[in-house]
Symmetry: C2
Subunit: 306 residues, 2 copies
């Protein structure tokens, strides 16, 4: 109990109440603070979170399964199959551990990634992995960039085109700065080893919906005109927004508070200046989806070997 | 093309642009408007969405898999295994069809369920299943009710304790009424066949986060005090809130616009007036989780036989 208190007080997270928690169960991940600190056993093999250097996150569980195998190959991890790398305990998030890399799904949207970020930064902090870097790999709608372009986010904007993140706490609206690490973004871009696709550094807008929230006119409900949509997309583009997704301001604002560096690497599936529907052939979709994985794998490999 | 236009114009959804869409691909479900209207084939068997009367949704994919088998048994559906009932096409949402019932996961939070609601109401409308009822089954934090109580939502509140849903569209904040069907809520309550648990009709608060957004003091970040949390939870309770989850105002506001009736049936896993941590034994967790499934299965069975 004294040890638990001491560990909590050394966490460095901006929550004084963690000091007095008598054990912390990370409900959506299914791990306890004790396991984060002391390690856990799976199939008779001991594992620890202490060595984690990279947390790679993405919306889809299939993508994070794929990334687990990609990074295992890239870093010559002794275990290479997703089944053996799988450490998930709940069906809320897919969860793989590949040596110093965690590959985790975050679901879709701010609330889902927010829950993950609270729990994963506590897990890392309990484990003493304070220098870990968090990287989101995703899909997105581009603005003014060709489909297939990989956007490395250098600014995060909310739906009001402000570099802020809004949340409601105890009945009051809170507004937090949503600023992302520039150096990390550039380092990821410069680590590209596969020259078969374009990357750009650019602004990413985070919305709370895919249809109305991103100005689409093909949802079940639409109360604006196509002209109003185009005006807004052009306005966003003139602010430096080159792609739209649904998580980045939550990540940048929370990581700023918890002290973890983060990055967002998303491929654009379409150019929203040319339409709303995501109509893309299966093969191209798969190939586009691999690009952020390939880039982030190169980055991790270069960091681990430096 | 003319048929497509005619079908769209008969949709009854509040989006005039659907009339001029040249086919609509429901990207996150993986089905097209053509399949919604004409049916689809899986393993050589033809299926249609036209007969859908109930869409049951829940956050977790495992729960919706379980519900698929529960409802198959209850309604004596010829096919009873989840594998055979599975019609998912993407890893965004689990998706099962059991005769007139769809069992679909919606992930966690407003953005994730909003995407599903746009696509599923379009799917139902394209299929001509305009009378289908949407029911969310979930877990929640209770306020002033014992753990294990099943709350059937009769009012939906946002984090400001208003019966409203906020969204940001084209850079502007929109506020919509978040009102839920009273008759449907009462009908679900009165269909209870398993008397081993308590149900209550009550208010449900929807938040955009599990930690700060629900006033918890055990997240990675906490800028309020335990006393402020308790004051807010008591204030919410005095407004009629008996449980907190993360989807209901999105559902009630969107269903009001699209014309679909909806309900929320969530078990309370803990009483938030007594703490923040979800510490519950595996067996009890499973048994609590089955309660909304059991109640909604009874409701569907009674409706189908009446």
């Amino acid at each position: 109990m004294d040890d638990e208190k001491k560990a909590h007080s050394e966490l460095g997270l901006p929550n004084p109440y963690l000091n007095s928690l008598d054990g912390d169960f990370l409900y959506h991940l299914g791990y306890s603070s004790l396991e984060a600190r002391n390690g856990f056993t799976k199939d008779g093999v001991s594992h620890s979170f202490q060595d984690v250097k990279f947390v790679v996150m993405g919306g889809s569980s299939g993508r994070m399964r794929s990334f687990a195998e990609v990074i295992a190959r890239e870093i010559n991890h002794p275990v290479q199959t997703a089944e053996q790398l799988d450490i998930h305990r709940t069906d809320r998030y897919a969860f793989y551990k590949i040596g110093p890399v965690l590959s985790v799904s975050h679901g879709m949207g701010v609330p889902s990634i927010t829950i993950l970020l609270h729990e994963i930064t506590k897990l890392l902090s309990y484990a003493g992995a304070k220098d870990a870097v968090l990287i989101r790999i995703g899909t997105s709608g581009g603005i003014g960039v060709p489909p297939g372009t990989v956007v490395i986010t250098d600014k995060t904007f909310n739906g009001f085109l402000k570099e802020e993140h809004e949340l409601v706490v105890l009945g009051e609206r809170k507004v937090r700065p949503a600023v992302i690490d520039q150096e990390l973004a550039r380092a990821i871009q410069s680590s590209q080893s596969d020259a078969r696709f374009q990357t750009v550094l650019g602004g990413t807008m985070c919305t709370d919906d895919f249809f109305e929230g991103q100005g689409r006119v093909d949802g079940a409900v639409c109360e604006h005109s196509d002209e109003q949509k185009m005006d807004f997309l052009r306005r966003a583009h003139s602010c430096g927004v080159v792609n739209i997704e649904m998580e980045c301001t939550a990540m940048s604002s929370l990581c700023r508070l918890t002290g973890y560096k983060c990055a967002a690497v998303c491929v654009a599936l379409l150019d929203r200046l040319k339409g709303d529907q995501v109509k893309i052939q299966e093969e191209e979709y798969k190939s586009f989806g691999m690009r952020p994985q390939s880039l982030v794998a190169s980055f991790i490999k270069s960091r681990l070997s430096s």
